[in-house]
Symmetry: C4
Subunit: 241 residues, 4 copies
């Protein structure tokens, strides 16, 4: 049976959907989830719906096999919800997952060119960004993570990292909290755009060193809520509009 959740938690998940649309990470596709705050074996995700339309009533609870729990019978579910279930299973530290086709990141998934941390705002990229090749697992597929084993293989590629690219598809971004997952999704998109520009300038790029990345990430722990607060404020104005 679905377990009760504080309405403010649900509101934040709705807000995250709007923010990710406003910031150009999601369009009509992609999704963001949180681990259930009262049950580590469950997660919360909107039903199969464009992110800009998600309201509190559309949030569904799933178990880690991605079975919906007590969802209304008319609800459709994301084919790729297994991304969320399998990452929550593999990564007990993770409490929020974003899957998107965030546009500027796509080129890095389809070239051998690694996405790397240009500056402190994207320091969470410094440990490296693996690329998931679905062909290695499923051969010629429809590119979707539409079952548990594919979700598991994606979670394995992600490993202990915060961001993984999915070749010819998109990316997955995780964090300990929802605001941090949103923050990382936004700045991964920015970093990707700027890294193309830096590459166009020619010559080697002086990326953040691993130790710089680690130290800068501690800063982001403190300051990312400043971004979340203004994004949330704008989203609530739009929702209550």
């Amino acid at each position: 049976m679905a377990k009760p959740v504080d309405p403010s938690v649900i509101e934040d998940l709705v807000v995250a959907n709007r923010v990710l649309v406003s910031e150009g990470v999601l369009d009509a596709f992609g999704h963001v989830s949180i681990r259930h705050p009262g049950d580590a074996e469950r997660y919360l995700l909107g039903r199969n719906l464009a992110p800009a339309l998600v309201t509190a009533k559309d949030i569904v609870e799933y178990d880690l096999d991605s079975n919906p729990i007590d969802a209304p019978p008319g609800f459709a579910h994301f084919h790729e919800r297994f991304i969320h279930g399998e990452i929550y299973r593999a990564r007990p530290d993770v409490h929020s997952v974003v899957h998107s086709h965030s546009p500027n990141i796509i080129p890095f998934g389809v070239t051998g060119h690694p996405l790397r941390a240009l500056y402190h705002m994207s320091s969470f990229l410094a440990p490296g960004v693996p690329v998931y090749e679905i062909r290695d697992v499923a051969g010629m597929s429809n590119m979707l993570i539409s079952n548990g084993p594919l979700g598991k293989s994606l979670a394995e590629t992600l490993g202990e990292k915060d961001v993984a690219l999915m070749r010819g598809h998109g990316n997955v971004i995780v964090a300990r909290t929802l605001p941090m997952a949103v923050f990382r999704a936004v700045y991964t998109e920015v970093n990707a755009r700027l890294q193309v520009q830096a590459t166009s300038l020619g010559g080697p790029i002086n990326f953040l060193a691993p130790e710089e990345g680690e130290k800068a990430m501690q800063v982001l722990e403190n300051i990312h809520v400043r971004a979340w607060d203004i994004w949330k404020r704008a989203a609530l104005e739009q929702i209550k509009g």
Copy 2:
């Protein structure tokens, strides 16, 4: 005599005009049509008017020779409506056609660099994107498809594909339905922008394999309406605004 059409069909065509403007595919130029739902030898297209201004009253019925049927005497007609008529004649499977100068696609028409499918959202590009060279047919022209024979030659270049580029001019995009034609127009523009970025990164690009493209296209059959629904909602708000 013009045949009756369900008003909801006309509304969708009006909406498609607005969506394509909002998404940056059309500006003051370009057009979108549907095959007449009640007569396969007819199609429906706005009169010669900027797409942002099209209303239900501006939709005109044409035969496949692109003669207007019962249009008000004051109406002007697009010089390039032959694009639509000849494609509907050559491709019985096609029920919607978009012609645009969608900006990011222009560079692919004027270089030898083929537009190809970077990711599943543009998997309909995987079978290949032919480039129409009007010079081969008309020599030194004003670049317009302003008569039936030119429309026919463009339809021949398109062949069984969904997208064809027109060198120094724009592109034509077709589908079985209006929402899918709009979807393809939007994501062809996105793919073009991202492919320039991927090319800037250097090295080979791992495009969708033909089989991946085919399978991913089946997914789009199911999910493209999610995009259409939110685009339509926003367009109707703007129209009724």
Copy 3:
């Protein structure tokens, strides 16, 4: 003494200022003028003011030496109004002049890379786009066309063309009518952006041939008002609030 002008002519000049701001051609700087409809030896230009703020009351009449005629004593005048005066003197066919720092065009003025017509919408670039080098005339200057002789040298570089770039500064665009000058300013900016992308793709670019350019320009004569009409409509809505 200043000669009477139909208020609709003045309104169009005010509208052109707003359109060029909305389309990203002008920001707080740059200006657009028309030749006086009742006196070929005079032109009409806003006083020294950001284009977004120009109203009918701010339009000033100038003679071809760029002396203001009957302007209110408190009015300041653009230092670079000589661009307009000298082009109107040298080019009897020209009835409108835009001077801007339109951003995407700047790179073409500072590299040896010529701006050329990628597609029919910018076919007016097909006869070639000269680059004005103020250093050849004024040595080390402040880059401004701040007197008659400099305006005359710029007009000489422009010659019989419709567009000239000004190295390290901006560009000047002329036409027989105000709507066409605005149209050319907008599509020169688009062409510049797309030409950078086409160049990034590598390999030769198949630009419009001179004869194609000439024929396509005749098409633009007919269709550019469709763009002007929607731009004007949006600008008037904004002005009337």
Copy 4:
């Protein structure tokens, strides 16, 4: 004790925060300050808050060691306020400082490719743009200028210039007045974007010569307020809603 400041001065500082957000220089991060008009040993800066939220009540006075003066006890302060304090100490001519992560500028800080003046609007870049390498001073750090000695080393890199880049972090921009600091921040961002494009075109770039830069900067002294005036007008409309 905090010294009285004319409310119009405070309003301008609030406005500058909004303008820099609207123009894409600041997002949820970065800050702009002015030297105290009544005490050269003090400066005024918002408390630790997203720039879009800053109001008159959030402006705090600091001494040049960046100690807050009479700030409400609940106020948090920017960790990097030392950027401001140390630059005001080192540069008596400077009365306004902007620190940002202005996106298009980031690529120039991480490549050996120098940011240079493409055109007269960014002529203040002509004397050269130094790059601050925090590694040389602090080794492997969190990238932040979080104390006086780091602020001092950044001020030393800036020297007598108006703009300095901070590798893997952002930039600092200074001026004699707040409107000029804002102007420079906006056009440095534009110049960076256009310089990437010019570089993509290939071949050498004809940057402003030092003497041209110097002369063009004198022009900007006169005209930059035209930009400030429209930006301020728009910001006040937004604030007063």
